[in-house]
Symmetry: C3
Subunit: 174 residues, 3 copies
């Protein structure tokens, strides 16, 4: 049963804001079986540690699938009627799309198009990255533009949107 | 008619948060004629593209006036009774004041002093830039101090203040 | 009398968001005698100016104690029944702990353990620093991880949590 979750939820927050833990708590009561779509890749020790600590916290009942680039395809292939999905996180997906020189608009539109047909609720986690000083380098500026556009698209489709700071959720929509 | 807008509104948000589009939607129903006070200068291709995309979205009914430095003067000279004003954005104005080595306190006080006498409502858009790591360089630190002080002054005078993230407004005041 | 303040309050905000002034206004009506625990050190002119302007604004009735590293100890030693405490700010404390190569988890747990036994209410001010682009350097990334973890811990214990932007408080808890 996953009746407590609306079809699409977006959880935005800063670094170490508790956004992933909050999103997990949204998903866990919804079903005994959950799908974790991980966009992060363990490319260095810092990232490996971060992934391990997330895995340790999540505990049992989660099936993990890596989807660093083909996120829409992984959603469609793996979502099941009684298995709500947690996608963590959209900003790492944007990073991977940029590194892979993918067409970001095509990827964003593909993700948005896949959402209405999914048989299970999906919760997206993402970093808000646009509230600091304008970055010096153009790639970082492009990254935060892409992330901001994607957040607007997903928030527009989402039934519920939360902003998390210091572990506390603020409901922005729903 | 511009009866739906209060005298002064401040719309704060991050990069690509949808703050300008939200502010435009506040202003557009208020009158068939609107004034757009642009503080940005097209000094490179990135900025030129940004300005073009904003102009394309705004569509008809807007008169655009450039006010990179003399913002209070442009407000007083161009505001008309049936023409609400959108100022986009305060952070670029702060940048221009710093580049021009203007006295920022004098400029801020001049802007605040001009507001009560305006014949039309005005909506300010600005970037919140103080929620990242402390910048390495002193100019960036000074910039975010100036921007923060200006936001506090305008928010103190404003009837309504919104914080926009992922295209969603959160009312902070009003 | 300090009956108006709950035992623990956290005030989060960006640079120049007005968070310190807001926190002072929470504390000042609670008692004619107040304790100001300053974690900042006047190590350069910029910091000296910032400290002076904070001191000038606070005015009378405040006793200032410096607690750059031993914050829990200073709280326990100086808190009195009729003297509410303002700690400004946690992010500078984290900086000092890192510079002093202290064990941050031990320090965080020590602070949290000290809170329930205090005879007076305490208000913590801290900078939210996790909402910008991921910093290039590892120390800055570690800093924002530490700050984020501490904010979650204090927010979890706090009775009231505020997020301040442009001088305006948004209640996140309480």
């Amino acid at each position: 049963m996953s009746s407590r979750l609306p079809p699409v939820t977006l959880v935005l927050g800063g670094a170490r804001s508790g956004k992933s833990a909050f999103a997990e708590k949204l998903v866990e009561p919804a079903s005994s079986e959950r799908l974790y779509l991980a966009t992060g890749r363990a490319w260095d020790d810092e990232m490996r540690n971060r992934i391990s600590s997330h895995q340790a916290r999540r505990g049992q009942g989660w099936k993990t699938v890596e989807a660093p680039v083909k996120l829409a395809e992984a959603l469609v292939a793996n979502a099941g009627a009684d298995r709500p999905v947690l996608v963590d996180c959209l900003t790492l997906w944007v990073t991977n799309l940029m590194l892979g020189e993918e067409d970001l608009d095509v990827a964003f539109d593909g993700l948005c198009a896949a959402l209405p047909g999914l048989p299970a609720p999906v919760v997206f986690v993402s970093n808000e990255v646009g509230l600091g000083i304008v970055p010096d380098n153009a790639v970082a500026r492009a990254f935060r533009d892409h992330a901001g556009r994607l957040h607007q698209k997903i928030a527009g489709l989402a039934d519920e949107v939360y902003f998390v700071a210091a572990g506390l959720p603020l409901k922005m929509k729903g």
